[in-house]
């Protein structure tokens, strides 16, 4: 018989005090401030905004500090805060073709209008630890050059003109917000993309990699990858005037995949799409690959029974807050559940013993 008990308040309070002390670390070392995190750990900040599904650098930096750098814990804090915010409305759909690009590359065409611009990238670095950073203050200044301030068109729009690639045409349907409505499978592509955009980078990377290794016949090229600021347009309800209410950094990836064609459609290229807050190109590329592999039905491709093709599997498991919530709850007291299991096992063993004595 298990009798419910109370207790643990003191232990919990003291545990949290120790957590607080450890978060501060050695007091002889200067304390991190939020601006240092948002200025110098920008890619962590971006990840927490993307998976926390809320674009606010200071809050993201605060969450990282509070969570001692545990990014999933930080994402949890962002999500929790997000739910407390009144929703003022929805923006107009963004125009990524008007992005103020820091980076814009294509792996499919060398010479493109607007050119290949590498931007601040880790690509082509030697991945050797830089011991100069152990010392203080040394850094290189960015170089500058004269430029034309022209809009940079999407690379895939050139293939569009020849009809060589499947087009993305609006169906006119409004997108359901998966944070406000329960989801039912099968999902629309809009709902899938919303889930993927806030999904876990590691999970999406693993799935995308699985498609490259052959778990879904899906050889992808990066048609275009761009990172930069996009103006968010929003109509002020009191005035009916649309204003640029915010400037937000995005990374967008358009993948190009082969398609053999079907009875209805001649052979052409197809697309996968990735769009995420911040400079998170590994995630944007992963998102595009996984988006494409889930489109098999649309193109009449074969279902190979692999994870990356299974929308229900991907979408139900890509959210790291849902996942960690369920996973981590099993470390909390389950004394009653376990007591029941224990009783059951004892009973079965007794019956087994009785049966053994009889024979």
């Amino acid at each position: 018989m298990y009798v419910s008990v109370k207790g643990g308040e003191k232990a919990i309070n003291n545990a949290h005090s120790w957590l607080s002390e450890l978060r501060r670390g050695d007091v002889n070392i200067a304390e991190l401030n939020i601006k240092q995190i948002s200025e110098q750990l920008t890619l962590s900040v971006d990840r927490v905004m993307s998976e926390g599904s809320l674009y606010d650098k200071d809050l993201s930096a605060l969450a990282i500090k509070q969570s001692r750098g545990d990014l999933i814990e930080a994402i949890f804090l962002m999500r929790a805060y997000r739910t407390t915010l009144p929703r003022i409305g929805s923006s107009k759909p963004i125009e990524t073709s008007k992005m103020l690009c820091l980076r814009r590359i294509s792996a499919t065409f060398k010479d493109i209008p607007g050119k290949q611009k590498l931007g601040p990238t880790f690509d082509y670095t030697h991945r050797l630890l830089d011991f100069k950073l152990l010392a203080d203050g040394e850094y290189e200044k960015a170089k500058i050059e004269k430029y034309d301030d022209k809009e940079i068109p999407h690379v895939l729009s050139f293939l569009n003109k020849e009809g060589l690639i499947q087009r993305e045409i609006p169906s006119g349907k409004t997108s359901k917000d998966i944070t406000r409505n329960p989801i039912y499978f099968p999902l629309t592509r809009s709902e899938r993309l919303q889930s993927l955009s806030r999904g876990d980078e590691g999970f999406l990377l693993g799935l995308a990699y699985s498609t490259q290794r052959g778990y879904a016949r899906n050889h992808a090229f990066v048609g275009e990858l761009r990172t930069g600021y996009v103006e968010i347009q929003f109509e002020i309800p009191e005035l009916g005037i649309e204003i640029n209410i915010a400037d937000v950094m995005f990374t967008e990836c358009e993948s190009v995949n082969q398609f053999k064609g079907s009875k209805k459609i001649p052979a052409q290229f197809t697309r996968g799409y990735g769009l995420v807050f911040g400079q998170l190109e590994r995630k944007a590329i992963s998102m595009a690959l996984v988006d494409r592999s889930m489109r098999w039905k649309e193109f009449g491709e074969e279902y190979l029974g692999v994870a990356a093709q299974d929308e229900e599997f991907v979408i139900s498991h890509c959210d790291n807050i849902q996942a960690t919530g369920f996973l981590e709850h099993i470390k909390l007291p389950h004394y009653v559940d376990f007591q029941a299991e224990l009783d059951l096992v004892r009973k079965i063993r007794e019956e087994y013993k009785k049966n053994e004595q009889r024979t």
Binding site: P86, L102, D149, R189
Partner: protein, 147 residues
């Protein structure tokens, strides 16, 4: 036309660097009488993307927004919709929006709006010129056997 220019100044105020806007406003040292229509509140706007950059809309995630509304007198209202969670920034934006509709328009335009535009343009130019410096110039090498 009024709407077009109001759209411009509201956009400049909304996306202004908050510390810069606050310093510009505080330097003016204006004492303005106003009544709240809506005190500053922090909320969010859902950002919509397009599938494949041109297709259906989809929700990408939210961005924090602070808004407030006030009136100077019964006729003139100001609205402060700004990016971020700074209530003072939102109030300054609403006051500027209201003052831009009065005879103080020139002072606000010259000392705040024009400077915000310039600040943002400088930032834009800085990014464009740094990006340009990372432009790839391809060249081909003539191989021996092709000669």
């Amino acid at each position: 036309m009024q709407n077009e220019s109001r759209k411009q100044w509201l956009s400049s105020l909304a996306t202004a660097d908050e510390n810069y806007l606050i310093s510009l406003w505080d330097n003016l040292n204006m004492k303005i009488e106003y009544n709240w229509l809506r005190e500053p509140e922090i909320g969010s706007v859902m950002v919509q993307g397009k599938v494949g950059a041109t297709g259906d809309n989809f929700n990408v995630g939210e961005v924090t927004i602070t808004r407030c509304s006030l009136n100077l007198d019964k006729k003139i209202q100001g609205h402060g919709y700004v990016q971020g969670r700074n209530k003072y920034k939102s109030k300054i934006a609403a006051l500027c929006d209201a003052l831009m509709q009065t005879e103080k328009k020139e002072i606000i335009k010259r000392n705040i709006i024009d400077k915000l535009v310039k600040y943002k343009n400088n930032k834009r130019n800085e990014i464009l010129s740094k990006t340009e410096a990372t432009k790839v110039d391809f060249f081909t090498l003539v191989r021996g056997e092709d000669k």
